[in-house]
């Protein structure tokens, strides 16, 4: 156990180091002045430029520069955005939780709808209802997420006028961003009618979550179904059936958990696809998350923002994947390798 933990910790740190090196290298790879790319500050004159270069150790060999850069990152000095002038830490602190919130709700939807549906389809494999579910899931899985979101907007927001299309909450509410999760922040805020605000935030959440969640749900259905079918054909299920166990017992005692195990490693790919979809959908809904922030940054050629944003998102994603890997390893040590490819 300790060995596994330490192995994964080393892996985690190693990966983060590689990411930090990449992000530092970007300061040199991006077009423009290295100092500006690194800090986001535009020096007003030569004297200030010299001082900044000394401060950020740019006059020293690359290794020292990197060490200093690493130190800055860990202390919390992430530089400033060259487009808005705000501290990057502040901006990412607002943007990242918004995306995390959206993704969390989408994943929850995918798990609570997709996995049961997948089980159902797997148990009743090759029957009519299975074919129907399969058809629906492959269709949903093939829709480009941005087109799907556009169609949802056209139908629900513009025609039926039941849902808004931009932001996390009506701008008339001024909610203090304490945690970054709007539903929690509303509960923590004072001086407003919480019921109204919650309803407003909920109506803003529904369509983006559904757009992302539907596609992830379709993937989960397919994966779960495949896993259930594989388990159904195993020898021990045949043995259990020949011993006379009822269908329900076979399901609850054997199929349920054994089918669940292979799914968990595949969640990693689901998460990365989910985050990519979330980033795209954010631009359509003006959702103030890290996706629309990064895309704005690239339109405005805000290199410091891109550098740190990339680091932040990759760190988040990799932490999640390593956690999931660790979790898998702990609960199912029998597996040697974890298939990461999707079905």
């Amino acid at each position: 156990m300790i060995r596994i933990l330490s192995r994964y910790s080393i892996l985690f740190i190693l990966t983060l180091l590689v990411l930090a090196i990449l992000s530092f290298a970007l300061a040199y790879l991006f077009p423009g002045d290295v100092l500006q790319n690194l800090t986001g500050i535009v020096p007003a004159n030569e004297i200030q430029r010299e001082a900044l270069m000394r401060q950020y150790r740019l006059d020293q060999p690359i290794v020292f520069q990197f060490v200093h850069y690493l130190g800055n990152l860990l202390q919390g000095d992430w530089g400033y955005s060259s487009a808005s002038g705000l501290s990057l830490r502040e901006e990412i602190g607002i943007a990242l939780p918004a995306t995390i919130e959206l993704s969390t709700y989408a994943i929850l939807m995918a798990m609570f709808i997709g996995i049961p549906l997948g089980y159902y389809a797997g148990i009743r494999s090759y029957s009519t209802s299975d074919h129907a579910i399969n058809a629906l899931s492959i269709t949903t899985y093939s829709i480009p997420v941005y087109w799907f979101a556009l169609i949802l907007i056209l139908i629900f927001s513009l025609n039926l006028e039941v849902a808004p299309i931009s932001g996390r909450i009506s701008l008339l509410f001024d909610i203090e961003p304490v945690t970054g999760f709007i539903l929690i922040d509303i509960l923590l805020a004072e001086g407003i009618d919480r019921g109204v605000a919650l309803r407003d935030a909920f109506s803003h959440l529904v369509i983006p979550t559904f757009a992302i969640g539907a596609i992830t749900t379709a993937s989960m259905v397919r994966i779960t179904r495949r896993s259930v079918i594989d388990v159904k054909h195993r020898a021990y299920i045949a043995a259990a059936r020949s011993r006379g166990l009822s269908g329900w017992r076979i399901f609850s005692q054997h199929v349920l958990r054994n089918a669940l195990l292979p799914i968990l490693p595949l969640m990693v790919i689901q998460i990365t696809t989910l985050i990519t979809n979330a980033m795209i959908v954010e631009t359509l809904f003006s959702w103030p998350g890290i996706g629309s922030w990064l895309i704005q940054a690239i339109y405005q050629r805000d290199y410091p923002a891109l550098r740190v944003g990339m680091l932040a998102v990759s760190t988040l994603v990799i932490s999640l994947t390593i956690l999931i890997d660790l979790f898998n390893r702990i609960i199912d040590p029998s597996r040697e390798k974890y298939e990461r490819a999707s079905v």
Binding site: A83, S84, L86, I113, P116, L117, Y120, L136, T140, I153, F156, S157, L158, E161, V162, A163, P164, I165, S166, G167, S170, L171, L172, D174, D193, V196, R199, D200, F202, S203, V206, F210, A214, T217, S286, P288, Q296, Q300
Partner: protein, 540 residues
Amino acid sequence: MRISSLGYVAFIATLLAVLSACTKRDEQAFYNSGLIYCSESNPVTFNPQLDTSSTTADATAHQIYDRLLDFDPETGRIVPSLASSWLVSDDGLTYAFQLRRDVQFHTTDYFTPSRNFNADDVIFSIDRWRDKNHPFHYVSGGRYPYFESLGLADNIVDVARINGYRVEITLKRRDSSFLANLATDFSVILSAEYGQQLQAQGFPNRIDQYPIGTGPFLFESYRKDHFIRFKQNPDYWIEQAVAKRLIYDITPRSSLRLAKLMTGECDATAFPAQTELEVIRAKEDLVLAEKPGLNIGFWAFNTQRPPFDNQDVRRALAAAIDKNTLLEAVYFDSATRAKTLLPAASWAFQSDADDTAYNPVLARKLLSDAGFPNGFSMTIWAMPVERAYNPNAAKMAELIQRYLAEVGVTATIVSYDWATFRRHLREGLHDSVLIGWSADNGDPDNFYRPLLSCGAIPSGTNRAMWCNQDYDRLLDEALATDNIEERRAIYQQVNRLLYERLPLVPIAHAFRYQAYREELQGMEINPFGGVRFGGVSKTL
């Protein structure tokens, strides 16, 4: 238990419908107390003295500030605002203003006024841009483009305090457009006390970032590319309906602005695109207000760069394009062809002015005579934002590109984000640019001077970088007389001069539109300036 995805969707849709019905019934009062305006871009600053862009003026001029005088939106006449009355001396050189009493400046978390508005504030506001030695002159850059382009600072001899509520302004030369200039969006009144406080604290440029004025709304917060928040000014001196909250939702895409208007997330929007006007007219819960605009969209050549310093080259390029096609494709039905700078709404409009016709043969001939038988290459700078005078510069540039290709001229289209674009234009990096001008007051001088006079080059409003002594002389003559007929005749001479020299090609005068939801009362188009939300309320 079987839960199909379809069933879930139906459930959510029903839930939404039920929830939205509840929302509409219970929280109407809350939603009605606030106004949301979809604006198209970020304001550059919160002091309209420093910038001529209509985005800045829309955000600040009528919301945060007041002026000495105002324009009546219906008649165009000058009416009192912070100046309750005024007298002009017989020789036209001295203007005496009686100031309104009991007008308070804003009280916010960063400033509490200790006195009412008085003459010191007027002197502070005018001297700031007029007097280079004023402590605030170079704060936030030191450029006052509107006033610089008119050369007003040179013409004012003195701004004197007669008593606490009386100010006298003395000019060097007669200027029949002086009062009109004091009523524009740019002539706002700042708080001298706030300025002194900031100077003592050592943060003078906060005066333009955390503004204080006398207007109907207080500044609350600003997040770039996202929103501006205003609050109601409870002590506003005019008795009118003022919403409790006013929010500018910054949305650069016009199709998204329209969508938000349709769902009700915005109560009014800026600059609906031409293609969207029909949609707005067709919807019953939206209103499209329309007025002939005091504006001009044009194609300006950088006359300081060869070959555009050659008048024949400019005439050739003007003859190479078909203005009618541009009007149809870019403006659809909402503009009239422009022959001169002035639109029909101005009293100095000349309907029989000369205009360049579409003549590609003549264009080729002029080009080869000028020494370019095989044409040349040039850039067309297309502005990235929509304006009433040009709703789609990129599309117009593509069309012009094709016309030019037919006479042998290769054009490349260049664009940047709005702030960078205007900065580069000021530096004169362009060959030609598609841009325009919306008038700030009803006076014709407000078109001719900022656009093409020598004095307007440093301030950046003279996009053609053109300097012609005869032109400037004629403009000054027009200002020196009060006789309307004399002025009109002089402006006709000016039009003739422009037709011969063609530093820019006038393309269209566009209608001004305001799109808003039918629940808004009191919303009207201000032909002489930015949008006003004081007096606008929302009912059901």
